[in-house]
């Protein structure tokens, strides 16, 4: 992979995505060994720089880095200089001066990792920026679907929930469509970003990918789930009601919640995914979340393998089993 940073999947070619997935498969084998530690990042310093609270993503990156024998430092917004009014640029320059080799960054402002990536010689991995992108989450989703269904091209992926505010939905859409799947985005009309489908079509054409109707948008959940191979539910936050975007969680779960009855509309054996953390009984019912079609726990496990793969490739590693 010839790139300094992983900021989003919108600029990934299909070959680059395949390289990550292939490498992740090798990393998954490492995770199955009795001793899960391999040496490729020995002596490298990886900084986990989280401006937003996160447990699962931060721990996933930390484990991934440690499995590759890197030294890991965690910076969180609370209790650090960030709280004292230090700007993002100041922090970035400090990281540069301290000699970080790779920075994993989560930030509430869309585009913040782009700013840092321009300033810093180290590689940046975007671990989520505002509503914009969460590329490693999308990569683990791709890896999970590839592992379970054997292929991504031609699949139909329904993403249901608060698309407007979702970096997961945006990055997943770029990832799946770049590998030739069709994505259906489904949300209440107040939670759909206007013009996103057009933006993706334009971006894919620029990459030379010509899937017909790569993204469709609907507020009808039954239509979204019809013939879907993958159903991804997104977390719906209570603050969306305070902003007047939703009448109530009750109405949301009745109209858009992923239930056993609704899953029956999807293709037989369709995968059920969720980026977590879940509001059980709101966007997804417990019997679906823990049912036979759910791959939600596998997503978490695969997250470590995929993040190992991304770090390994950014550090100059080559795809293949020679880890």
């Amino acid at each position: 992979m010839r790139r300094k940073d992983v900021l989003d999947l919108d600029d990934f070619t299909p070959d680059e995505l395949r390289e990550v997935l292939e490498t992740a498969a090798a990393m998954k084998e490492v995770l199955a060994r009795p001793i899960r530690r391999v040496p490729p990042l020995r002596g490298k310093t990886i900084v986990n720089c989280f401006y937003e609270a996160s447990t699962r993503t931060r721990v996933s990156f930390e484990l991934a880095a440690k499995n590759l024998s890197a030294d890991v430092v965690n910076i969180t917004a609370s209790g650090s200089s960030v709280e004292k009014g230090e700007t993002l640029i100041d922090t970035t320059r400090t990281l540069q001066a301290l000699g970080a080799d790779m920075v994993i960054m989560r930030h509430g402002a869309a585009g913040a990792p782009y700013l840092v990536a321009r300033e810093l010689e180290a590689s940046i991995i975007n671990a989520g920026d505002g509503w914009h992108a969460h590329p490693t989450q999308a990569l683990l989703d791709l890896f999970t679907v590839q592992s379970r269904l054997g292929s991504i091209e031609g699949r139909r992926v329904a993403i249901v929930g608060d698309i407007l505010h979702s970096r997961v939905a945006r990055s997943a859409t770029w990832g799946f469509t770049t590998l030739g799947a069709q994505v259906v985005l489904c949300a209440p009309p107040t939670l759909l970003p206007i013009g996103f489908a057009d933006a993706v079509s334009t971006g894919l054409r620029a990459k030379g990918i010509s899937t017909p109707c790569p993204v469709t948008v609907t507020h009808d959940v039954d239509e979204a789930l019809r013939d879907a191979d993958v159903v991804m539910a997104l977390r719906v936050q209570r603050e969306r009601m305070d902003a007047g975007l939703l009448p109530s969680l009750r109405e949301y779960s009745r109209e858009w919640g992923i239930t056993r009855e609704r899953i029956a509309k999807a293709r037989f054996g369709a995968l059920v995914m969720h980026p977590g953390p879940m509001n059980e009984g709101v966007e997804i019912s417990p019997e679906v979340a823990y049912g036979p079609q759910s791959v939600i726990e596998a997503q978490v496990t695969n997250g470590v393998a995929v993040r190992m793969a991304v770090m390994f490739l950014l550090a100059g590693g080559r795809a293949g089993p020679a880890v």
Binding site: D10, T87, L88, I89, H107, A109, A110, G111, A112, Y114, L115, R118, D129, G130, W131, H132, A133, R167, R170, P193, I194, G195, F196, D198, A199, V200, T202, G203
Partner: protein, 456 residues
């Protein structure tokens, strides 16, 4: 339209300055205010236009300028300039802002009142007038706040402000959202005949907004500023202008749909005028997603120099702005020069200040529209000179004998590379850095005095 009870707006002057004599020979003089477009000469005597005509005599002791091959026009008039002083001198001062104006061919600027303190008392108006007389490179008029402290709660002392010399009222940067307050501002403004300049933005629709709402904002995950937020306020204000008979001026129109509301009000005889900025004429929201113009000029995604309020919109909007200037729905071009310090812009997009430093690139941007066939040269010059002057009733913008001797001389074809480090303005915030613009000011003359000279 100014009220007969009130004296006419006095020419902004400077003690002992702007009273020189000069003769400009052989240029193509374009003065749309008089319908002149001819190769001819202009004589300025002791600061005022003496005569326009071939072979006129030079006043005694006059400097002689050879303008052959160049365009000679009345000095440009900007109705919308943020000079930032008092309060934000780290962004711009009256000295640096007017120097930037001179460099860009503007001989008259109107200072917006979003200063600290806001321009809502005679004391602040006097401070700006005095400072401009002592330190300014060009003529400075002052726009007073509509509401006390620009807080949108209670009217400022509008008559007192007019007596102190303000040429218009505005809370620019903020919209007067309260319909009753806006009605009262318009009604009360009839006592002074000064226009009420609205920054049209329905804040309920722009909470957290960072850029135009469309496919680019959807892709970038930035909260969007829909066109409707501007159109709703303009539609409302047109009705309030009709109700009160007052003069409404719409600042920085950005949405094509807004023009329909202005057109409709005009056809009913409502006194509505409007301006557009050089950036809304020429740039679009795609820049926010990153753009490559040339080997020297490119913007990465989320570059904060593209953040401006109202936001850059889409191509149909910018085309509609040029069409609006052609058919007169938009009266003039105003820069909305909004200088910011590096620290205001070198940060996350959502933290960055809104605004573009435009005084020094305005002519090049407007000429890009001319070179592309969107406006004629005469239309563009009218929109920079006589038309803005008429909107605010200023005694400039045309070269009739007896008028202020303010002249801009430019080469419409000279190419130059935008280098913000060379700006006279403290604000280096422009998305045009490294961009090649075609058309550059050669000399700017205020009251017969050459205040910017690139002729060497």
């Amino acid at each position: 339209m100014s009220n007969p009870n009130n004296e006419a707006i006095r020419l902004a002057t400077a003690h002992g300055r702007f009273l020189r004599s000069v003769v400009i020979r052989g240029g193509r003089v374009i003065d749309p205010g008089q319908g002149i477009d001819a190769i001819t000469d202009i004589a300025i005597r002791d600061g005022f236009v003496d005569a326009v005509g071939i072979g006129i005599d030079a006043p005694a002791g006059a400097q002689v300028i050879d303008a052959r091959g160049l365009i000679v026009t009345p000095g440009f008039v900007d109705l919308h300039t943020h000079l930032r002083e008092p309060g934000f001198e780290y962004r711009e001062t009256i000295a640096t802002g007017t120097a930037a104006a001179a460099a860009g061919g503007f001989t008259t600027v109107c200072a917006m009142p979003n200063t600290e303190p806001a321009i809502d008392t005679t004391a602040v108006v006097d401070f700006i007038h005095d400072t401009a007389r002592r330190q300014g490179s060009v003529r400075v008029y002052v726009i007073g706040a509509i509401t006390r402290g620009r807080k949108g709660k209670a009217l400022a002392d509008l008559i007192e402000l007019a007596t102190a010399g303000v040429v218009a009222y505005s809370d620019d940067g903020d919209c007067v959202t309260d319909s009753a307050l806006m009605r009262n501002a318009l009604a009360y403004s009839r006592t002074t005949g000064r226009p009420v300049v609205q920054h049209a933005e329905d804040r309920a629709l722009t909470t957290g907004a960072q850029m135009h709402e469309g496919s680019v904002s959807a892709r970038l995950g930035l909260a969007g500023w829909p066109r409707a937020a501007e159109e709703i306020i303009v539609a409302r204000d047109c009705e309030l202008a009709a109700l009160t008979g007052a003069h409404l001026h719409v600042a920085h129109v950005s949405s094509a749909g807004t023009l329909d509301f202005i057109r409709r009000a005009r056809s009913r005889g409502v006194h509505v005028t409007a301006e557009v900025t050089p950036h809304h004429l020429t740039l679009t929201d795609t820049l926010v997603g990153g753009h490559w113009w040339s080997a020297t000029a490119s913007l990465p995604a989320y570059d904060t120099s593209t953040k401006v309020n109202p936001p850059l919109r889409e191509t149909p909007d910018s085309l509609a702005m040029a069409a609006g200037l052609r058919d007169g729905v938009i009266d003039c071009i105003a820069t909305d020069h909004a200088p910011h310090a590096t620290t205001d812009k070198h940060c996350e997009y959502q933290t960055a200040a809104s605004g573009i430093s435009t005084l020094e690139t305005a002519l090049g941007s407007v000429l890009a529209v001319v070179h592309a066939g969107g406006l004629t040269l005469v239309e563009a010059i009218a929109a920079l000179t006589v038309r803005p002057a008429r909107v605010f009733g200023l005694a400039s913008g045309t070269l009739l004998p007896g008028m202020a001797g303010d002249v801009t001389i430019f080469d419409p074809d000279r190419e130059w590379c935008v280098d913000p480090a060379q700006f006279r303005s403290k604000g280096r915030n422009t998305p045009l850095a490294g961009h090649i613009l075609r058309g550059q000011v050669i000399q700017t003359i205020v009251g017969g005095e050459v205040i910017c000279d690139r002729s060497a």
